[in-house]
């Protein structure tokens, strides 16, 4: 079997196991949607000018922002925590002892997460159409798809990379949340800043999260043009490549002692 066929087979089994844990599956989907409902309820009535030039209600803005959050949650958070647990359980080491190419295993794991992310984005889009006056992008669809793919790849790579500094599975939720939650608050995901303090602006420019949020806003709502945000996509791609390099160099298949 080719490496690709192996990877797809891996996706199938990972997917099968995922749906057999209904509690985990339910909250994987409920978690980002809870944020969507809570934030739109709390802050949804004002109007805001989003990246790309459109002026929309804040609840409409959240459809794009929480779509980005869904991808980050399904890829970065989910991959980092589940890989840490699989490493501690010895699953990674066992797999390493078989002829399966290591890349095929990790690729399978990543593709599974991307599928979950895309389902979440589809649900967000449906909520957007039904409740929050956010039409599904049509003219800017290429930008929308490209942004999702670049974002999913970037945060999947970072999810693999962060496992290099996670000492054991018990510590993984704490480390993963501490590494992502503050950035989410400062990067126009949970709170849209129209005029952010300088240091918040720096955080947003350095880390990939606000670039993702900005690119999603443009791809979703841009009133004219293609909705592509080239610089944002490049910054995300750079972070993704950096993540891959770190993962390739420091990824551990055996439990850390």
């Amino acid at each position: 079997m080719s490496g690709l066929a192996q990877a797809l087979r891996q996706v199938r089994f990972t997917n099968k196991a995922f749906w057999r844990n209904p509690a985990s599956a339910f909250f994987t989907f409920a978690f980002p949607l809870m944020f969507l409902v809570i934030f739109t309820t709390l802050f949804g009535n004002d109007e805001i000018q989003v990246v790309g030039g459109a002026t929309v209600s804040v609840s409409t803005f959240y459809v794009a922002a929480i779509s980005a959050f869904s991808v980050i949650s399904a890829c970065y958070t989910n991959i980092a925590i589940s890989v840490s647990f699989q490493r501690d359980a010895g699953i990674l080491k066992r797999t390493r002892g078989t002829p399966l190419p290591p890349c095929a295993y990790l690729f399978g794991r990543v593709v599974h997460s991307v599928i979950i992310a895309l389902i979440l984005v589809a649900i967000c889009a449906a909520f957007g159409v039904l409740f929050y006056e956010a039409d599904v992008p049509t003219r800017t669809l290429p930008a929308f798809v490209a942004t999702l793919l670049v974002g999913a790849s970037c945060f999947s790579a970072l999810g693999l990379a962060i496992t290099a500094v996670i000492p054991n599975a018990d510590a993984s939720p704490a480390i993963v949340n501490a590494s992502i939650l503050p950035i989410l608050f400062l990067s126009d995901i949970f709170i849209p800043f129209e005029d952010p303090p300088a240091w918040v602006d720096v955080v947003g420019k350095v880390f990939p999260v606000r670039h993702f949020s900005d690119a999603m806003q443009a791809a979703y709502f841009a009133p004219t043009g293609s909705g592509f945000r080239g610089v944002d996509l490049l910054v995300m791609a750079a972070w993704g490549i950096g993540g891959l390099v770190v993962a390739a160099r420091f990824f551990s298949w055996e439990p850390r002692k």
């Binding site: 087979r9 089994f13 002892g97 078989t98 002829p99």
Partner: protein, 305 residues
């Protein structure tokens, strides 16, 4: 003896200042069940993980099925099966799905049902892993290792933590493997396990091989003197001299390099005199005696240096 499945010369492995394996040689023939026997911390797992390709070595030559395990990848891994000490599979897949998943990684897998049968999990084939007992999960480990139909199987302490019944079952599985003409390399700290399963045993302690050979001759056990023990009624006069020594509880011990003759002399005399030999016992040093003697475990903490 067939060709060598495993050949190791002068293998050393250091972790910083600690030398875990101090220059060992091993030769395992194809189709053989070989046991690496030793106490905890002797270097067994380090050695087996070097052979499996999980760990690099500090120095020495290692050839497993003609490959250097430190460099080999898929082609080598397709021919070996590994049962690690720690279990780990997805808890939400069933036994059959798990065996199919891992079998699919190999070029010529055995049918999943057949493998499940070999390890005695047929009744559990549609049960999810999360619902298996510890012993059943260990059998699943063996099933996974067999799924790719390997020529050589590594079992790292396959029965540690088992109750006696589960151990007997596991032994039965290993004997089935031997019947399938697989080469088996197992590590254990149980003497009886090595004795009942292995064609050949190497005793390792503190990173050094202390003795190596078939269980029956290990440590020159077959050359050791036989001990005949018995008791005589108190105050009996005219007992011949066979070289007997009295122990603290009054039992007499006779050591003999020719036990047939010695026993004949003693029992012949006893029958003639109509003396009953109480607690008559003929024994040779057990593998356990040899093992404890070799590894110095009787010397208390620290052993013999």
């Amino acid at each position: 003896m067939g060709e060598a499945a495993i050949e190791v010369r002068g293998l050393r492995k250091s972790y910083g200042d600690l030398e875990a394996v101090k220059g060992i040689d091993l030769l395992v023939a194809e189709g053989e069940v070989f046991a690496l026997l030793g106490p905890n911390g002797a270097g067994k797992t380090t050695t087996v993980e070097i052979l499996e390709g999980f760990r690099g070595r500090t120095s020495g030559d290692v050839s497993v099925l003609g490959h250097d395990p430190a460099k080999a990848r898929a082609e080598f891994r397709a021919r070996i099966g590994i049962v690690l000490q720690s279990t780990g599979v997805d808890p939400y897949l069933t036994v059959r799905e798990t065996v199919e998943l891992y079998g699919g990684y190999y070029p010529n897998p055995r049918p999943a049902d057949e493998v499940i049968e070999v390890v005695g999990l047929a009744e559990k084939r549609d049960t999810r892993v999360v619902k298996l007992s510890g012993g059943q999960q260990r059998r699943l480990d063996v099933a996974i290792a067999l799924a790719g139909d390997p020529e050589l199987l590594f079992l790292d302490e396959p029965t540690t933590g088992f109750d006696p019944g589960a151990r007997r079952n596991a032994w039965e599985i290993v004997r089935n493997l031997a019947a399938l003409r697989k080469t088996v390399f197992l590590t254990t700290h149980y003497m009886d396990e090595a004795q009942s399963l292995a064609n050949r045993v190497a005793v390792i302690s503190r990173g050094v091989i202390l003795a190596e050979g078939p269980p029956s001759t290990l440590g020159d056990r077959h050359l050791a003197e036989t001990i005949v023990r018995f008791r005589l009624p108190q105050g009996l006069a005219g007992v011949p001299e066979w070289g007997q020594v009295a122990t603290s509880d009054g039992t007499l011990e006779v050591r003999s390099a020719d036990p047939t003759r010695t026993l004949h002399e003693i029992t012949g005399w006893a029958l003639e005199r109509n003396v009953r030999l109480e607690a008559l016992d003929v024994s040779r040093p057990s593998l356990e005696d040899v093992y404890l003697d070799l590894t110095g475990e009787f010397a208390g903490p620290g052993g013999r240096e």
